[in-house]
Symmetry: C2
Amino acid sequence: MAERVLNSQAGGIGSTAHEAVYRRLRERIFFGGFLPGHAVTLRGLAEELGVSPMPVREAVRRLIAERALAMQGNGRVVVPLMTRDKFEQVLFARAALEPELAARALSRLSPADIEVVAQVDDDIDSALLNGDAEGYMRGNFRFHFMIYRQAEADMLLGLVESVWLQFGPFMRMAYGRIGTQGLEDHHQAALEAMRRRDEAGLRAAIRADIGQGMGFIGDAMLSPLQ
Amino acid sequence: MAERVLNSQAGGIGSTAHEAVYRRLRERIFFGGFLPGHAVTLRGLAEELGVSPMPVREAVRRLIAERALAMQGNGRVVVPLMTRDKFEQVLFARAALEPELAARALSRLSPADIEVVAQVDDDIDSALLNGDAEGYMRGNFRFHFMIYRQAEADMLLGLVESVWLQFGPFMRMAYGRIGTQGLEDHHQAALEAMRRRDEAGLRAAIRADIGQGMGFIGDAMLSPLQ
DNA sequence: GCGGTCCCATTGTGATCACAGAATTTGCAT
DNA sequence: ATGCAAATTCTGTGATCACAATGGGACCGC
């Protein structure tokens, strides 16, 4: 099944330097240490990654276009902050798009594919038991995109990837602050629906997963701050 | 009301050269002569726009990230072709996102705003009468985004802009080939719903407008080709 | 001790050059 | 005339340099 779940765009092998920088930055934004508000510099990243500033410029420009990074008025590049408004929009967009992707993927998922996804879910449970926030996020990402990728709907997948990139750093900060205790795993219903080939059930399960997972961090994080 | 409907992103004034190039390319992709399949070159655009290749590189990179342009395996940059699959995804994404934007905008639309939108719709009718395909497209774009912009939901607006950029060149080619006769104006229902402050009615009207407008060109264009 | 001002380091931006790969054209041989 | 091969042009990519503007910090005056 899909090995390269990230970077669905422009199926190219992507052997250019700026492509590699793009992937590494994307990985760090989503799973690494780039928290909301963190400022990055072109030359700094270039030196850190061992390349000239040029590929970094292109990668950062691309990430800004995907709203994974933001450029403030003075030209400085930062990881965007989350606001209640933006969070609600993310929640809506996910609920509007992801169940459809899952439904489209259903007919293309082989029983073997489904069991691979089930294994990922086991890993998620282990991560939750161990309080491993990053492991949970990586697993959750893999769980969803292994499914969505099978939909073979690049256009919708691109929209959803952009949405995930926008709330990723916030989610990471949230789990870092409030921990993973209290998080439940709502993926079982999705797995059962997939095994039953129940499209309506899968849509509902994905929708429930989004609502509950996002509600969890939304309640915990956004009540205090504004 | 919103003068700058295009380029919602990163509210900056955008006085940099690559920002200007980006806006001009975007304008041409959507309303100008860039048809699907059209190839562009960095140096060619640079000379044509009277700038160095540098700002063009950044603008093109950004447009590729938004999927308004595509890079083929050999590195050449082209305006992407439309496929039936992609068209269906565009249709779904529009129907999933745009009614929500319209609904969110409703409470912020003043009666004066609504009448401005109504005037735009009059212009659309004139364009349709004259068979002015570009006028129709400009008017249709303004009609929708004058409303959506009032929703003050940048994240969702960005998704919708990306979607429009992806079907814009195809729609232009479609109207150029099949003309605008047969196009009906389904905006009246939306205007009446707005005047009534009828959120459900507005959602339904926008959804109907999308379904019928897109169905019109989808039926005409995508049956023959593949 | 504290506030303001000047200076320098750092930032993103744009231009120019070098380079490798691809595509097109040219030229030759059949 | 036609098919193939070589060469030349053209492509995007990356590096380096120059520059204006912004930000931070040091220094001085009160």
